[in-house]
Symmetry: C2
Subunit: 207 residues, 2 copies
């Protein structure tokens, strides 16, 4: 029962942080929306920082499951496309983290360090996927070119959500468009057959 309450607090906090932005949501508001006393919430999470850290840990677990060097198996454009969708859906689920990332990281150094770990692993994963495509003869690029693409992939994966929030009036998070933007970084380096396969994918998902 106590465990249930703990999870219910986390679910409510995540929903409110995502809707209104973490800086704009107090723990009292969370307790209020759940019809529990502030004391009850405080029993489970002594501070708002504790709440944020618990949510971050759940997010981190999901990301570490998704990311990581790819096995030897030949990578495939459709697999990469699917992989991007899984990553971007996780980002949407925990979007409050990405909304105020700089402020969150400057306030909680432990989160900055762990988030930096996720970014470094993302760089390695992207590098490993592109190296695989290159080894399989599906991609042609110099090491310097690949370096630039890898850094741009991770930057766009990290900030597409914040960019959409500022640029689009409706502010709907659209993982499809994000995957499209990331794939279009890779597209010009693909060899003919693979490039056509990619164009088909991009066309199918453009809307």
């Amino acid at each position: 029962m106590a465990r249930d309450t703990r999870q219910r607090i986390l679910d409510m906090a995540l929903a409110l942080f995502n809707a209104d932005g973490e800086p704009n949501v107090t723990t009292n508001r969370i307790a209020d929306e759940m019809d529990i006393s502030p004391g009850n919430l405080h029993y489970h999470f002594r501070t708002k920082q504790d709440l944020i850290e618990s949510l971050f840990s759940a997010f981190e677990t999901r990301m570490l499951e998704l990311l990581g060097p790819v096995d030897d198996q030949q990578p495939d454009i459709e697999d990469i496309w699917l992989f991007l969708h899984l990553v971007f859906e996780t980002i949407v689920e925990y979007r409050f983290l990405y909304r105020d990332l700089t402020e969150l990281c400057s306030r909680q150094r432990s989160i900055q360090q762990r988030f930096r770990g996720i970014l470094k692993l993302s760089l390695e994963t992207a590098q490993s996927l592109l190296d695989g495509l290159r080894r399989a003869g599906q991609l042609e690029a110099s090491d310097t070119e690949l370096n630039g693409v890898v850094r741009n992939i991770v930057l766009i994966s990290t900030f597409w959500l914040a960019f959409d929030a500022v640029l689009e009036r409706d502010g709907q998070a659209n993982p499809n468009r994000a995957a499209w933007q990331v794939m279009s970084l890779v597209a010009p380096y693909l060899v003919d057959d693979t490039r056509e396969q990619m164009q088909e994918l991009l066309k199918a998902y453009q809307n």
Copy 2:
């Protein structure tokens, strides 16, 4: 004299916001660092929001001078490179705006609207520069490809600073690396001669 004080307040606010992040700097702290009374500061800027709006206006003026559709004159890779540096130096000068962009925009709708205006103008400027290169036969890409590149250019221009702040331990803003990242989006679409010219530029500025 009053005008001097007003400008000195703006300069101090900009320096402190950039150093510690706007959410972490109070108007009392600004007055304190200047050795003036909070009442004196309040005489010039009734609220912190007023201060932020004034700084934003100065930033906006600079950006609107830089951005805008390009004239008919044939664009040149070196001109574009220089242009990116001017834009990124302006961004570094007002980096507090880019650090907590989402939160700032959600808190001050008027700033969100004006910032969105700057982003839309940036998209048009990038589109116009790339169209120019394409018309001059220096670049080969479909309309769909150019669309993707244009959106990625503006996204990376907007968030490279926040990305560096989270990823790099020293957290130094590096406009050079940012220009390099943006140019590497365009590089694969350039035709041979122009691509070589670009590779020379990228090599010269890589460190």
